[in-house]
């Protein structure tokens, strides 16, 4: 390198690095102008278009997303309202059913009570009737027995103890027989 510089210096033609040669300027301009035109008319317009389209798409999508969100919110509100309505209706129906049930229950209770009262009354009446009947028949029997006993006592002309004893025995036997007959009845 040094020898070449020396050689160049010796020939008096060391180029000044600050002064461009004509071919240097020419090729520089060619390169620069081609790339300037290339970037200006080809690369950057397409690049800008891509960015613009993307920005537009993102904005469009954001808008769509917002819309969808609003729609979803509205739908949710609707559903909630419907739910509340349904819940209120269910509560109403339940209340109605409860009161109706209570009414039915009361009615049934009343019915049962009255039925019980009726049955009790019927049973009492029957018992009373049977008692009356028993009383009547007993009275009739006791009367006839008394009469029988009295007549036997009187009829046997109580002469001696043997006869008296016989009458009493006879009466008791009759009474027994009567009692048996009564029982058979």
């Amino acid at each position: 390198m040094i020898s070449r510089i020396l050689a160049a210096a010796a020939e008096g033609e060391t180029p000044n690095p600050l002064l461009p040669s004509s071919y240097d300027l020419l090729w520089s301009s060619v390169v620069f102008v081609i790339l300037l035109a290339f970037f200006w008319f080809k690369v950057l317009p397409n690049f800008k278009k891509t960015l613009d389209q993307r920005a537009e798409a993102i904005e469009g999508r954001l808008e769509a997303a917002e819309k969808a969100q609003a729609e979803a919110a509205a739908k949710t509100a609707n559903i909630e309202a419907a739910q509340a309505e349904a819940r209120a209706e269910a509560a109403k129906i339940r209340d109605e059913a409860r009161s109706e049930g209570a009414a039915i229950l009361a009615e049934l209770k009343e019915q049962a009570a009255s039925e019980a009262a009726r049955l009790t009354a019927t049973a009492k009446a029957q018992i009373e009737a049977e008692r009356q009947a028993a009383l009547i028949s007993l009275r009739a029997e006791v009367g006839s027995l008394a009469i029988d006993l009295a007549s036997s006592v009187v009829g046997a002309s109580l002469k001696n103890d043997k006869v008296a004893a016989g009458v009493v025995d006879q009466f008791l036997a009759d009474l027994e027989a009567g009692d048996k007959a009564g029982k058979k009845k």
């Binding site: 390198m1 071919y23 020419l26 090729w27 950057l44 891509t50």
Partner: protein
């Protein structure tokens, strides 16, 4: 010298091609192919209404958005940023692509390390920021630039030449020189490190061979550094162009 390699074709005409010019043409081709592929992706996305970019498309978007958002929109706002975006994008990717060849094996020299390309880009930036100022403020742009408001009249004798020099002469010159000199210096550093490695390893005796490892390490570190510089210089060039445009557009003029 390496910055003025032999002419390989069209010697003696303005179309003369040397190694660096060929590298520039290769970078041109690479940039065209890369961005053509990305543009094809964008077009396909536009046609098919697919809004989710693939990996490759996303890489392109990140690259283009770096200039669009972090440089143009930040400095100029969206409207003016998009107006000047073609120039800024071109400057950024041309500079980056040309710088990075400085460390690509086989190329080993930046396409921006001879001053022609930086001059062309600085001129483009120069013309653009003057155009931006004149379009916005008319002839008032020049008077306002040269005679800043709020300065006492006698001081214009001092201020006006300084403003003329700094705004209309030094801006493009510094743009071009900063880039070129960075690339030249980077190349010289790498050449120095790797030539030293070569010398120590193969020509030096005994103990001195160990220096080779050290110089190689330095060369490796500077290679990484050059990647950073390549990116940084592309960013700085683009950012300064944007700032000049922004200053020209601002209402102070």
């Amino acid at each position: 010298m390496e910055f003025y390699p032999e002419i390989v074709a069209f010697d003696g005409t303005p179309f003369a091609l040397n190694r660096i010019m060929l590298i520039r043409l290769i970078v041109l081709g690479a940039l065209l192919i890369l961005f053509w592929a990305w543009t094809a992706k964008f077009k396909k996305a536009n046609r098919t209404n697919s809004y989710v970019p693939g990996r490759f498309q996303l890489m392109g978007e990140i690259a283009l958005n770096f200039v669009r958002k972090s440089i143009a929109h930040d400095q100029l706002g969206e409207k003016d940023g998009d107006r000047f975006l073609p120039l800024l994008t071109t400057i950024f990717f041309v500079t980056l692509g040309m710088n990075i060849t400085g460390i690509i094996p086989g190329f080993n020299i930046a396409g921006t390390s001879v001053i022609g390309l930086p001059i062309v880009m600085a001129l483009a930036a120069y013309v653009t920021f003057i155009y931006a100022g004149v379009k916005r403020h008319g002839g008032h742009f020049f008077s306002a630039s040269l005679f800043p408001a709020g300065v006492p009249k006698p001081f214009y004798i001092l201020v006006t030449p300084i403003e003329l020099l700094s705004t209309f002469i030094l801006r493009p010159v510094t743009l071009a020189l900063r880039l070129t000199m960075n690339m030249i210096a980077g190349h010289l550093l790498l050449v120095l490190c790797f030539s030293a490695t070569q010398f120590f390893l193969f020509n030096a005796d005994g103990f001195f061979k160990a220096f080779g490892a050290g110089t190689f390490l330095f060369g490796f570190a500077f290679t990484l550094f050059e990647i950073l510089v390549a990116f940084l210089q592309a960013y700085v060039f683009t950012l300064l162009t944007t700032v000049y445009i922004q200053l020209a557009l601002s209402d102070e003029h």
